[in-house]
């Protein structure tokens, strides 16, 4: 592996450009390079691993049992990547992907806008694999913008990369396997968690039970049981939570919650929120990939074929960015995506591709067993997706509340793009990452139609920040001069 930290050192064109160095991206880059494709792996973090294996080569948390065996499994992926011929560009962002306008035109050739250390450049790629992973589902409750309220994943990153644990009175709230995993990790690291507020709706158990037999034969079972059992010991767990509110002035001071008919308030210094992860589709959306609403995972999922190629030719999405499947599944899907790209580039015959893919697909089937049970069981409650309290902030950047959104739907605003014009929601620096799903579901709920009918924000580049100065330095064309200098 060759590491590049200078935008000028990148080649003009790569056979394969992989975006994101999590499990899917690392596997895709290694698999691509193995086929002899000139492969570039771009990642915005300083070290490989993505979020799930964040800091795997650098973490100061030496005691293996703190982060657990599943975390350390990422070591194999890093080893394969390091041994490969791929080029790796850390601390580098991709801010646009579009069709290549000029130069040799093979189908699917793309122009990719990259930025390293304050300098932007456009390079080309014959195939692009976006391994942009997942992000935590928005958790809009009153007070979620207060300092001291963080995502559970955020706290996990602080632990993995810096050996930091939340201090004082720590409350974790929400639902889903990652919440229990993080709680176990934090407690193993010595954090004192005063209470876990479990928002998993009681009725989910009834719905999930019919998928339980698959789950019982799945690799999730052992891990899940251990986490749940571990979680019980020495910590208060309140189940069936139906409302949560963070209170405080300059930071969170207390958390109020309701379970059954009871309301309680506890002092709190750190509140960690989590209710599952959803595909990070910002790049796919800006590229123009067709997206579908997935009613099980309650999120947008890009349409892909069996090699994870999207509706945009040459643009493939591997891993959780194409639908949540977890780290193991992501790595396998990364390999399949790279085999698909290798075939489209003429490097692999269909037969070789399929032969190499067969064992990976078998593994993928195994890794996905039980997923459906988890999806149904931990499908987050509506009260935490479509906030009832009108003063709850939905768009954190522009500070747009649920009440304002509902009021504007009543004017006849039918979808999120018109909503953007009316209220600026989704127009801040996060570009709708933290409010997109909520806005879609809230409009759908208020109008009484499906999220699919409402649609989502339409995004445009740059999907990562670049400065005007960086943009200004890019090459111009005669057509551009004609369009601008009149």
């Amino acid at each position: 592996m060759k590491t590049i930290k200078d935008v000028a050192a990148l080649s003009e064109c790569y056979d394969l450009l992989v975006i994101g160095a999590g499990p899917a991206g690392m596997a895709a880059a290694a698999t691509g390079a193995e086929q002899g494709l000139s492969t570039l792996l771009i990642d915005e973090n300083p070290a490989p691993g993505g979020q799930i294996y964040r800091g795997i080569t650098t973490t100061p948390v030496a005691a293996k049992e703190t982060l657990g065996a599943d975390y350390w499994r990422g070591t194999d992926l890093v080893r394969d990547l390091t041994a490969s011929e791929a080029t790796y560009a850390p601390e580098t962002t991709v801010w646009s992907v579009g069709p290549a306008a000029e130069g040799p035109s093979d189908p699917g050739r793309m122009e990719v806008g990259v930025s390293v250390g304050g300098a932007a450049r456009l390079i080309q790629a014959r195939q692009v694999i976006a391994a942009t992973g997942a992000l935590e589902r928005p958790f809009p409750i009153p007070g979620w913008t207060l300092p001291g309220v963080m995502t559970a994943g955020g706290a996990q990153i602080a632990l993995k990369t810096s050996g930091l644990v939340p201090d004082g009175r720590v409350v974790v709230a929400g639902s889903g396997p990652l919440l229990y995993l993080l709680t176990a990790q934090l407690r193993a690291a010595g954090a004192k968690i005063s209470v876990m507020l479990d928002t998993t709706p009681h009725e989910n158990w009834g719905r999930a039970i019919r998928y339980a037999s698959d789950f019982l034969r799945s690799p999730y079972l052992g891990k899940g049981l251990k986490l749940l059992l571990g979680a019980h010991r020495g910590m208060r767990i309140v189940r069936g939570i139906t409302a949560i509110e963070a209170d405080g002035d300059s930071r969170v001071r207390s958390v109020r919650f309701r379970h059954g008919s009871k309301e309680e308030e506890l002092p709190c210094d750190v509140l960690l929120l989590h209710q599952g992860v959803v595909p990070n589709i910002n790049l796919a959306n800006a590229v123009g990939c067709a997206l579908d609403w997935d009613d099980d995972q309650l999120t947008w999922v890009p349409q892909t074929d069996e090699w994870y190629e999207t509706s945009v030719k040459g643009f493939t999405i591997a891993g959780d960015g194409a639908g949540i499947g977890g780290a193991e599944s992501a790595a396998l899907r990364g390999r399949l995506a790279a085999l698909g790209a290798g075939h489209r580039l003429g490097r692999l015959s269909a037969k070789d591709r399929d032969q190499m893919a067969a064992p990976v697909r078998t593994e993928l089937m195994r890794a996905g067993r039980g997923r459906r049970f988890l999806d149904v069981l931990y499908r987050p409650a509506k009260a935490f997706r479509v906030p009832k309290a009108d003063d709850t902030i939905v768009c954190r950047c522009e500070e747009v509340t649920a009440g304002k959104l509902r009021e504007t739907v009543a004017l006849g605003v039918a979808g999120p793009n018109q909503m953007k014009s009316f209220l600026r929601c989704g127009m801040g620096p996060c570009q709708g990452r933290l409010c997109g799903l909520t806005v879609t579901e809230l409009i759908a709920d208020t109008r009484g139609v499906s999220p699919n009918e409402v649609g989502g924000y339409r995004l445009r580049p740059p999907i990562k920040p670049i400065t005007l100065g960086e943009l200004a330095a890019l090459p111009k064309t005669p057509a551009a001069i004609k369009a601008v200098e009149r």
Partner: protein, 378 residues
């Protein structure tokens, strides 16, 4: 959709199009007590209104049609009345400011071309007179301290201003909702048929019977106009726009291509491309726009871009608006322009009144689409 499930509507006037032109006109009609139905498309539409640059702009407009300069100046002059009316009706401040605007020139050639254009504009017969100043670098720098050394000079006009166009859009929709305009989103129009005392409007949603119809459907007017004996040969003109993160106020006047919004973001715009309905953002174009903006104001270089987009202007063959009443189907009007913000005041406060009266005044005759027949015959 079957006819059985379809809705039937009755109203005095239908406005087709819920963008800035349609909603400003509907607001004017409803303020005078008319019963108005307003049809609109859904969440994804071409929507020139969402791509506008939010200028209320006077200088440089009307070369080739002095009546357009008169009309534009009149709208700029009554813009504060519109802003006040909206504030009174909705409590929404649309941030209308008229501090005067600049066109900055980045070379001697640009400066010369600009001065010549202004001279030709103001030398036209029947041209309305208003003040403007040609400024050299030093005087421009005195008034706009943030400019860079590449700015050769500028033209300043005290009539120019800007608004918060998103808030304008929301204010108009809020106002018409309060005035009981029946707003129908997701309601495309398939046909409009003259029918003894009025018109029958059909769409997949059902049918509406109205006495008058106003076509304010932007690029959709090209298709709808012939249904009622009108002519609106409009085509798309692509404009790309950049907007940055919010910054503390540093730019207190609008430029024709750069402005800081009242919320802090900086908008950079005004590319023009004739590429049909293509709305892809292209790096070379936005790069050049960014470069020119940074040459004008070097302090912009470090500002992060939050979003870029492109929208389609609604362009007639000569670039000027079309206001017309059908001769074969009286009661059918067409309203189309690419300056929906600048002209919003006229649309609400002047045009709506004439539409209700049923005759467009002689002062608007120049905007009839008959001018296109004349020029094609010549």
């Amino acid at each position: 959709m079957t006819q059985n499930s379809a809705i039937r509507l009755e109203s005095e006037i239908a406005v087709i199009g819920g963008g800035l032109v349609g909603s400003a006109t509907a607001y004017g009609l409803a303020r005078q007590g008319a019963r108005v139905l307003m049809f609109d498309e859904g969440d994804i539409a071409y929507r020139a209104s969402r791509g506008n640059f939010a200028l209320v702009w006077v200088q440089s407009k009307g070369l080739g049609m002095p009546e357009y300069a008169t009309w534009t100046k009149a709208s700029a002059e009554q813009w504060s009345t519109l802003a006040k009316s909206l504030r009174d009706d909705t409590d929404i401040d649309v941030a209308h400011h008229q501090p005067g605007g600049f066109i900055l020139c980045l070379s001697e050639a640009e400066m010369e071309a600009r001065i010549n254009a202004m001279r030709r504009l103001h030398n036209q017969p029947k041209m309305v007179q208003y003040p403007y100043e040609v400024l050299d670098h030093d005087e421009t720098k005195r008034r706009l301290p943030a400019i860079g050394p590449d700015v050769v000079g500028s033209v300043f006009c005290p009539l120019d201003g800007h608004v918060n166009s998103l808030r304008l859009f929301r204010a108009l929709h809020t106002a018409i909702a309060r005035l009981k305009v029946d707003y129908r989103p997701n309601s495309p129009i398939e046909s409009i048929k003259p029918d003894h005392d009025g018109f029958l409007i059909n769409g997949p949603w059902g049918q509406a019977r109205v006495q008058k119809v106003v076509l304010a459907a932007g690029l959709g007017n090209a298709r709808l106009a012939p249904m009622v004996g009108l002519h609106a040969p409009v085509r798309p003109s692509k404009g790309q726009v950049i907007v940055t993160e919010k910054a503390a106020p540093f730019l207190h006047h609008p430029m024709v291509t750069v402005r800081q919004t009242d919320e802090g973001g900086v908008m950079i715009g005004d590319s023009q491309e004739d590429l049909g309905f293509d709305t892809v953002v292209t790096p070379p174009v936005i790069s050049l726009m960014a470069q020119r903006a940074v040459r004008m104001f070097p302090l912009l270089a470090g500002l992060n871009i939050v979003r870029t987009w492109s929208a389609l202007r609604v362009m007639s063959p000569d670039g000027f608006p079309i206001y017309d009443q059908s001769q074969s189907c009286p009661g059918a009007f067409v309203v189309t322009c690419h300056s929906g913000v600048t002209l919003a005041a006229n649309h609400t406060l002047t045009l709506a009144h004439h539409i209700l009266e049923g005759t467009l005044p002689a002062s608007l005759e120049a905007f009839s689409s008959r001018r296109f027949h004349v020029s094609s015959a010549a």
